[in-house]
């Protein structure tokens, strides 16, 4: 029954990875940028949630929504200030800018809040439910529920609305989309807003579950979520979800059954195997390079 228990834990962790990975994959799909600052937006989300819960004394759902909104605004701002002036320059320049942005967010938050971890206020009462041989607590349930709701919402936006259509068109061929009269700038901003909001939600959820947050909490989950995005096939939203879940489960199983210390390496080992065996990822489409 330990297996079922670890599966539940893995699913909860994986749903968080999935939320972050979606942002990575959406941004990469449109402007082909590995947005390294994305992991730090997740951190900022946790801090927004912390501030709102602490000073405005709001309950779980409003805190989550405000934090998501804050992150969306921040994501758009970062895109406008740092990435937009560099559109059309080489990939590596963008990449370094993203790394710079990531360092800037980490250090700015370190400056404001100090390097020590902050205890996250209790937004939900922790209740433990026993189901058969395994147990699940209310935080894990909220993680899974919020992730599922957000993913359904995302599916609706991407496949049923006009701006979703614009996003899909832009990620298919950004130049052609522009020629068809799609406002590419707005579409890119929209993508950043949605991706960042999801990362912000993930930040609040993790902040609640491991009730400590610090300015560097985004580095590792950010890298792993990126691994999840590559695993699922970068640019493919369903791929990012599946990749995130798989990675969360794999990591939890490694922790439980093999070694705690190796759990960080397992994500990267998976990544390398995927890249060498199936570089396009699980759901990605293979792109033939034109000469």
């Amino acid at each position: 029954m330990d297996f079922a228990q670890q599966l539940v834990n893995g699913l909860a962790l994986g749903s968080v990875y999935a939320l972050i990975a979606i942002g990575y994959t959406m941004v990469y799909g449109i402007i082909k940028l590995i947005n390294f600052a994305h992991g730090d937006i997740y951190m900022v989300g946790a801090f927004f949630g912390y501030l709102v819960a602490l000073y405005l004394k709001l309950s779980f759902v409003p805190s989550l929504l405000i934090s998501m909104l804050g992150c969306a605004v921040l994501g758009v701002l970062i895109e406008k200030v740092a990435y937009k002036p560099l559109r059309g320059s080489s990939k590596i320049t963008l990449f370094i800018t993203a790394i710079g942005m990531s360092l800037l967010l980490e250090n700015a938050f370190r400056l404001i809040f100090g390097p020590n971890p902050k205890p996250f206020p209790e937004l939900l009462k922790v209740k433990i439910y026993k189901l058969g041989g395994f147990q699940i607590n209310s935080l894990q349930i909220s993680m899974l529920l919020v992730s599922i709701i957000l993913v359904i919402l995302l599916q609706y936006i991407v496949y049923r609305t006009k701006s979703g259509k614009a996003m899909r068109a832009a990620s298919f061929d950004i130049d052609a989309a522009q020629l068809m009269g799609i406002n590419v700038n707005n579409t890119i901003s929209m993508t950043f807003a949605i991706g960042s909001a999801l990362a912000g939600a993930a930040g609040v959820l993790v902040g609640m579950a491991y009730p400590r947050i610090d300015p560097y909490m985004g580095i590792m989950p950010g890298l792993k979520a990126f691994v999840a995005a590559v695993l699922g096939g970068i640019g493919a939203i369903p791929g990012a979800m599946i990749g995130g879940i798989l990675l969360g489960v794999a990591e939890t199983f490694t922790k439980a059954f093999i070694s705690t210390k190796l759990s960080d390496a397992i994500a990267f080992a998976i990544l390398i195997i995927v890249l060498l065996v199936r570089p396009a990822g699980l759901m990605g489409k293979k792109v033939n390079e034109k000469v």
């Binding site: 990469y28 082909k32 590995i34 740092a82 002036p85 560099l86 320059s89 080489s90 990939k91 590596i92 320049t93 990449f95 370094i96 800018t97 790394i99 710079g100 942005m101 360092l103 800037l104 980490e106 250090n107 700015a108 370190r110 400056l111 580095i219 890298l223 990126f226 691994v227 590559v230 970068i234 070694s259 210390k261 190796l262 960080d264 390496a265 990267f268 080992a269 990544l271 390398i272 890249l275 060498l276 570089p279 000469v291």
Partner: protein, 326 residues
């Protein structure tokens, strides 16, 4: 022969002069230990930067795991010193060779990948190396490896750095160097011209790993302590920043950027609270306003010649447009 001798002489004289000035400043203790340490760290960073520049700047492959090779070289050298008490030059060389071996093992499968995928898989390998080191108890694990004797001094670091720069410079003006550049410019065209692109990519990768290993050995025998945490993903991006900021494909640019970016955080130390914020913000601003890096693909020594050629090209272009207009 005479000409060759003369040009070698012209390079050697300023190098020896710089060394003489710095070394005497250190010997007469005008520069205290703190400044000497900064000088040594600058040299180590230059080695790392010019090495990575071979992969990124000359061969055009985006690799992100350079700190991994540095740690492999550092640990290998430190273990050889601690366990076998071998002399320092042999230890350094062995550290470099072990790192090169890792470069070969990692390079052969990953260099089939391109662009972002290559970046991420090398990043993954770098992280795996770090996690493995943490898990090996005989290497000190997460506590780090202490008790390494202090063997590195400024003279050794300086001449190794100069030597490596000269090796890379000579390599880049040889046919092998041109082959590497052709891989960067257009891989398919290079292949069509009969250049074994995989071979040259792996060659650049292995050589860069070798140099990083030597840098790791120097680092280990200067600080006398190795901490796996200091070879994480951030260290790799730091080295990448040197290369990109200096201008990809410019040896002197990499060296210059490594120097500036090592001094900058130290110079900002009085405002310690803000220094990393300023550092990261200036990184973003530099990328926005000077995306080609400080020197672009130019070298310090060839700046004038380059300007001359560029002007000529501009003239031709202008003439061309006139013709069209007419």
């Amino acid at each position: 022969m005479n000409k060759k001798f003369k040009s070698a002489f012209l390079i050697l004289i300023p190098i020896l002069l710089v060394f003489a000035v710095l070394q005497s400043l250190i010997s007469f203790e005008i520069l205290n230990n703190y400044y000497t340490q900064i000088l040594i760290v600058i040299c180590i960073n230059i080695i790392l930067a010019v090495g990575l520049n071979m992969i990124i700047g000359f061969t055009g492959q985006l690799a992100l795991g350079h700190a991994g090779f540095m740690s492999v070289g550092g640990y290998a050298a430190a273990i050889l010193t601690l366990k076998l008490h071998l002399p320092f030059p042999i230890v350094l060389l062995a550290g470099g060779l072990v790192a090169a071996l890792f470069g070969l093992i990692i390079g052969i499968p990953t260099l089939r990948l391109k662009g972002d995928y290559l970046a991420i898989s090398t990043l993954g390998f770098g992280e795996i190396i770090r996690v493995l080191i943490i898990n090996i108890d005989s290497l000190g694990g997460a506590r780090g490896l202490a008790g390494i004797p202090k063997e590195t001094n400024f003279a050794i670091v300086f001449f190794i750095t100069v030597g490596i720069i000269l090796i890379i410079r000579n390599l880049m003006t040889s046919s092998h160097g041109r082959a590497m550049l052709s891989v960067r410019e257009d891989e398919i065209a290079a292949e069509a011209m009969g250049i074994n692109t995989t071979k040259y990519k792996i060659m650049a990768f292995v050589m860069a790993a070798f140099f990083a290993g030597i840098a790791g050995g120097l680092y280990a025998h200067y600080f006398m302590f190795l901490d796996p945490k200091s070879f994480d993903f951030l260290k790799s991006t730091e080295i990448l920043t040197f290369v990109v900021l200096g201008g990809m494909g410019s040896i002197s640019g990499s060296a210059l950027a490594a120097t500036v970016l090592t001094i900058l955080p130290e110079a900002l130390r009085p405002i310690a609270e803000y220094r990393m914020v300023i550092y990261s913000a200036s990184l973003i601003l530099l990328m926005i306003f000077r995306p080609q890096g400080l020197l672009g693909t130019k070298e310090l020594s060839s700046l004038k010649i380059f300007n001359f050629r560029k002007n000529n090209l501009m003239k031709v272009k202008k003439g061309g447009t006139k013709d069209v207009a007419a």
